[in-house]
Symmetry: C2
Subunit: 450 residues, 2 copies
């Protein structure tokens, strides 16, 4: 819902070029709220309003705009002012943003950026997507271990405006190799003792990640150690950047969405649903639907083998969808439970025997439940011709549901063992395999019992 409360006032100030009013508007509230009130403005209008904010506030306001508006503003004509804004952005956000800006605009903006920002941009852009290098920022506090705690605090005070986090100071040698880390918490505690140096305070056993590490592993590391930020080093342990807690939050949300998509057999989207072109979206779904189609085709062949039986005992047909959906649903539940437990580290590969046993027991319990329901439906609702025929349904359901829990749990574990993403063993995939099995089980049970 767009907040239109102040739109008329802002537009009037823009029309009258009321500089004092616009300046006041930019500073009165928390930037996140101010940005909300600006949602209804066009990119051009918003850019004019931004000109009335101080550089620090301007950058923050801009960071709360939605991505499309940010891109539209960067692509607007006033290259000089845009370059000023882009130069002020945090290095990691700058790379993310310019990725979606037209290439010729980026090429025209680059020469207008200060040299340091330009180099920074080109270096960060080189890291592959989804790696630590692509998420990290290069603005962090880097100090020498000879400084005293008080000197360090004062130095930090001077730099605070430009840094993305001031809560860890990284201690490096002359060639930028990481030597240790000091938290602002330690610094504040040691303020009284004037002789304490950063070297005395620093923790040398630093948790680091490598610039080419997968962003999901980075997020897990930060969550495991409860860090506010994690330093990123290259192969020679040179400190190249840091990843802060807010970026980790974004990574975690992104990865959870990717997993959910994989579980539903959609190739993860690189952009949001609304921004992904329809053909790309159709392709990411179609490729899996095609694969699943060939699986489903096998059910048709399986059924063909039993055509003569079905000709004779036509009432069996009405139970086909019920049998295969019961197996498929149970399998999806198991697969999802195991995939999420593997993702959160709740289950490890070594637990596989316990997991399979647990699923077997659940399969028996759930199979008994559905079998009972199935028998009652077949017998009492006269879907099957007589008592003995009705017994086919509970026997089949029990077997199919147990197959569902066993396959639904072992297939993701197997994928994990093969170092593939267990979420690739998606629910429709598991369900597809159980469909085929379900039909074979159903027909064999029917043959055997009639």
């Amino acid at each position: 819902m767009i907040n239109t409360l102040y739109l008329p006032e802002i537009r009037e100030m823009l029309a009258l070029n009321d500089e004092a009013g616009l300046r006041e508007f930019c500073t009165a509230l928390h930037p996140a709220r101010t940005a909300e009130f600006m949602e209804g403005l066009s990119a051009e209008e918003a850019f004019v309003v931004l000109q009335h904010a101080e550089p620090l506030v301007r950058e923050e306001l801009f960071s709360y705009f939605d991505h499309d508006k940010q891109v539209a503003i960067v692509e607007s004509d006033d290259r000089l002012r845009v370059a000023e804004l882009v130069a002020d952005l945090p290095p990691d956000d700058r790379v993310d943003l310019l990725q979606d800006v037209k290439a010729h605009v980026v090429n025209e903006l680059l020469p207008l950026l200060p040299m340091e920002e330009r180099r920074d941009y080109l270096r960060l852009r080189a890291y592959p997507e989804d790696t630590a290098g692509a998420v990290m920022t290069t603005e962090f506090a880097k100090l020498s271990e000879a400084l005293s705690a008080r000197e360090a605090l004062e130095e930090l005070g001077k730099q605070a405006g430009q840094l993305e986090t001031i809560y860890y100071l990284y201690i490096v040698d002359d060639t930028d190799h990481l030597r240790g880390v000091v938290s602002t918490r330690q610094l504040v505690s040691a303020m009284g003792k004037s002789t304490t140096t950063l070297g005395d305070l620093m923790e040398a056993d630093v948790v680091t990640v490598n610039a080419v590490d997968d962003q999901e592993d980075v997020a897990k590391t930060v969550a495991h150690y409860d860090l506010l930020a994690v330093p990123v080093v290259d192969a020679e342990r040179v400190l190249v950047g840091i990843i802060t807690h807010d970026d980790v939050l974004d990574v975690l949300r992104e990865e959870a969405t990717e997993d959910a998509h994989r579980i539903a057999a959609v190739n993860p989207l690189e952009e949001s649903y609304m921004r992904t072109p329809l053909l790309t979206l159709s392709w990411k779904r179609g490729i899996w639907l095609g694969v699943l189609f060939f699986g489903a085709l096998l059910t048709a062949f399986a059924l063909q083998q039993y055509e003569n039986d079905l000709d004779e005992i036509t009432w069996l047909v009405v139970f086909i969808p019920l049998v295969i959906s019961s197996g498929g649903n149970t399998g999806s539940q198991s697969a999802t439970l195991i995939i999420t437990a593997l993702a959160t580290g709740d289950i490890k590969l070594g637990d596989w025997i316990r997991v399979v046993l647990r699923e077997l027991i659940q399969g028996i319990v759930l199979g008994a439940l559905l079998g009972l329901l199935g028998f009652l439906a077949a017998f009492l609702l006269h879907l099957a011709p007589d008592f003995q025929a009705s017994l086919i349904i509970p026997v089949t359901l029990m077997l199919v549901v147990v197959c569902g829990t066993l396959l639904g749990s072992t297939l993701p574990l197997l994928f994990h063992r093969l170092r593939l993403d267990p979420a690739m063993m998606s629910n429709p995939f598991v369900a597809g395999i159980i469909d085929i099995l379900g039909i074979i089980v159903f027909m064999q049970v029917a043959r055997w019992m009639l």
Copy 2:
């Protein structure tokens, strides 16, 4: 995988009661790593090792143990020493932990806790699960606005050891009403100016959450404003606690897992997969499987209506699983895409017309693809008797796939509109509805074309 590298050495030190060695072991590495090396120890052994660590390190080491070991340690016999450990824990973790400890142990420990910790525990325990109050901690920096920046820093230095975060100071009046917030970043920047008070620095427009707010909304707020911590207030705006970024990470992971479970028709687990009793797990799955079973029963009744047709045209039967799984898979994809996009805020209710149009177009593209595959399979593989009969399959698949995308997108949107969790419109649910539709469409198309 349990790290057994140092287990023999630790056990030897324990056997010899080598106090110096154990003390050294507790401090040499980052506590998270030390805790890893202790994974192979029994709860009793680990508790003895903990006795050799300083209180602060002991508490941190303990926090890295897995939950079961923590519970076992708290339930061990030495109530006095356990009470000492429990008193040192962060208030929010203490509540989470004691929740799983046997009630009589908790009752015996409570009188041994210092009065403040005991009151704190009883107050926090009263908040319902999944609310801000249940996640928050009560250890934070609360100062008066009259203090200067330097005084505040010094005060912070003294308290730093007991606080969970020192990165925001909260300014309250005499009756603990929240007046404003100052970040340590601002404090450090203002260190030079001795006359600046907290009142001058503080931001009065503070983002807060209410103690009874849902934890998922709290996580969204923190992520939206990129906060390190958010203050929790009661209905009278009295500051009762704060929620820090690491707890928000945990909430986000928990909620993502819950959504994934709901999407697969499993009632979200309160504990991890491995710790949930098998009967509880079976119940959380069985209740949905039962509901879905009654849906599937409708497919049986639908098929019964067409029994005469199926008797005459038996080849149609072999396509039943293929038709309904194609519709179900497409529907699951749409439902998951829409549910995740709603969860991340990428789609809002107002977008529903665009969303449905996008899904319609994708339905046509995907229906054409699967229809082509279906026709080729029916005609070239002689699953259908002739050319005209083969055409039934593509027409049916096109209609079923379009139904899948439309239902898969509109049902979660509808649930969202009704202020229900869109993830409740789970994939098996959507697939179940499409199963019934698919059979009716299939049979009607066949009647019409033959």
